[in-house]
Symmetry: C2
Subunit: 411 residues, 2 copies
């Protein structure tokens, strides 16, 4: 069994970053103030609408609700998404929509479709840890997109990929309220990524999980909307838009979608069929019903709640953080990103913080595929109440000040 064990070890090595999640799970103790999980506030879930929809599905058509169904997804839900996508500037048909198990599964499917060992993925970073985990199963390397600074030249990306023994295969980014930084890519930045992808002839994977959660400022066009505007037809686009119901309606049903040219969608559907046959039938029927009835109001409700918490956390940071700590001011999403003095390490801060300040967060290193970012941390404001935000930031700031002073003295 030695060979078997070695193989496990090698494969799991690539997934190591997930251990931090395990660590953080252990920390969910009552006296800990947690800014760690990027998860929605369950008090905001539209429970009654879900209860009514499950009951209705099981009363009116139990045989269909509990049966196998098609890999592309429940037709009425796909049709609803056609309307949703039209509303964000992407005219399409149901042939352009595939249902996925949250946007996380879309990333795994696209890794399976496009990546082989040694290929290059272009991505902004820090970037979504779950995307790195999904892609890592296919053993790519990463090169960095810097959309606001103009990126590198296509030739430079191509040569770096060739030198590493592969080719550039896809560009990935969360353009709206990125997990972990909360930052949004400008319209110009989006156009630069599209232009680069066209020159490299690669797809752009647009992770839009947080898109609906904008609290102020003007909405930026979806990259897929820009692509359609330029090419004139979704069938000629190269952008693959990955959406999710997890941040608006509820994550527990595990439902998201891909919107792309139908040639891409058909391939993803074959991958879905080979991977898990289809997403749960009953959940898709229910999500369609709930989306039909409460989506707009629900989005307004979560926006209002999270906007207030973001403002509260920004105010607390301004009040308490010592000089030398910088942070983002996100226009949406669930996260604020802190850059600490260079001498501080986010992982060591977490260990100390859990011990003494009793505040949890996610160290930023894991979000960087190149191993940098040790002096960064991610704070989520989606789940904590006002008092917890005030107290938690005050305690964290005091610890940071103490540790910064310690390292300054030691230097």
């Amino acid at each position: 069994m030695e060979d078997w064990d070695r193989r496990y070890a090698a494969r799991s090595e690539r997934m190591r970053a997930s251990e931090i999640r395990e660590l953080l799970k252990l920390l969910d103790q009552p006296d800990i103030i947690s800014f760690a999980g990027g998860i929605p506030d369950p008090a905001l879930f539209p429970d009654a609408a879900f209860r009514a929809a499950y009951d209705e599905a099981l009363r009116s058509n139990p045989g269909a609700a509990l049966q196998y169904s098609t890999s592309e997804g429940h037709a009425p839900l796909r049709e609803w998404l056609v309307g949703y996508m039209a509303g964000i500037g992407v005219p399409c048909t149901a042939e352009n929509i595939a249902i996925t198990a949250g946007s996380q599964q879309a990333l795994d499917q696209l890794g399976k479709l496009f990546l082989s060992a040694g290929d290059t993925v272009l991505t902004t970073w820090p970037t979504y840890l779950g995307a790195l985990q999904a892609f890592n199963a296919y053993e790519p390397r990463y090169d960095r997109l810097t959309p606001e600074q103009g990126n590198m030249t296509p030739q430079a990306y191509r040569e770096a990929a060739a030198a590493a023994g592969g080719r550039v295969k896809l560009a990935y980014l969360t353009a709206d309220f990125c997990n972990p930084t909360g930052e949004t890519v400008s319209r110009e930045g989006r156009l630069r990524v599209l232009e680069l992808a066209r020159e490299l002839d690669i797809p752009v994977v647009e992770d839009a999980a947080y898109r609906a959660l904008r609290y102020d400022g003007d909405a930026q066009p979806a990259i897929l909307a820009l692509d359609v505007a330029q090419t004139g037809d979704i069938e000629r686009t190269r952008t693959i838009h990955c959406g999710s119901f997890s941040k608006t309606l509820a994550p527990g049903l595990r439902l998201g979608w891909i919107c792309a040219a139908s040639a891409v969608v058909r391939k993803v559907v074959l991958i879905k069929q080979a991977g898990d046959l289809h997403s749960p039938t009953i959940n898709q029927m229910v999500m369609h019903q709930v989306a039909e009835t409460v989506f707009a109001g629900q989005v307004e409700k979560v926006r209002t709640a999270y906007r207030a918490r973001r403002d509260r956390m920004l105010a607390a940071l301004a009040r308490h953080m010592p000089p030398g700590v910088r942070w983002t001011r996100p226009e949406g999403g669930m996260f604020i990103w802190l850059t600490l003095p260079d001498t501080l390490d986010g992982a060591r801060l977490l260990a100390r913080s859990v011990e003494s300040a009793r505040v949890a967060f996610v160290p930023g290193g894991a979000f960087h595929p190149d191993g940098t970012g040790a002096n960064t941390i991610r704070l989520s404001f989606s789940l904590a109440g006002d008092e917890a935000i005030d107290a938690g930031i005050a305690r964290l700031a005091a610890l940071i000040a103490e540790m910064a002073e310690g390292t300054a003295r030691a230097a």
Copy 2:
């Protein structure tokens, strides 16, 4: 975009067999008698238990039911499965159980864990088409297990794998009522597969999706139970048992499980996390509740119903089929496997049958990784009523007789 298109084509080529499912989907017209899909009869679903369980989950704990949850699965459901596994001779703990999106997802996860391009999978064949589709994403080759005939020697499998540029990485089989043949591997055959796997130092993937559906004869021990009996402890076993609720309670919730040594389970959980985070929380809570309350009675109910249909189809086959047609007599599951005269082609028979006899089934070629089996077909007895079974088999038999006579005359 040419390279992109080429890449799609290459990747989807490996999944071609799924097109036959698409074809069969189109055939679900009211006047067609379908023996095609291997799907449970929705009239047998325990609707009321599901309706009560969804209502209860959303009344008592909506915040948890609709929220993110852990990748390993809902703890009470895993504990229930510990009891189920003990009942089939596998003492274990919750650390040995991971929840999957049906047993289909387990196959994809195990392919991702064990297989690289050029590696060898050992499998009986004809075998489950969905397993070939799941594994094919990782580009293995296949070599044949023949458990009842004693298999090849470890050295012979090893040399064939090396000649193909890889190594033998896993053995896969459905030992109980295999999809598509309905056949069951004897206790001696199971022991031979285990012995071979031990000599090759590879895992045995035991697909147990149909295990609970035994209609007569003595239950054979699960391969994992034999492995535990030999090694004395699940932590020392190499068998990975993949179970499913799809054939007993309902497939529409997409829930199955892996039971194996905890070292394997931990790796599968990391793969699950990177692939879709977790299976839907609410469905796991509901499945636990329904399993607790109706599992034993439900298994008895579906066994009784499918046993009668199997008997009805076997009787109709004996009454109508012309000489030269052979078929299996399954002790469980959903399928009877027909071998036609060598001159007949199952795919051509399907095309003719849909046109004239108006009977659908699945041609057997796709279940053979080596391209043989053209003169075989799979009939499912799980969904058709008594009259449909009688009429459908009579019409199919008449067409087979007509085509056999035609090819005999032509020869």
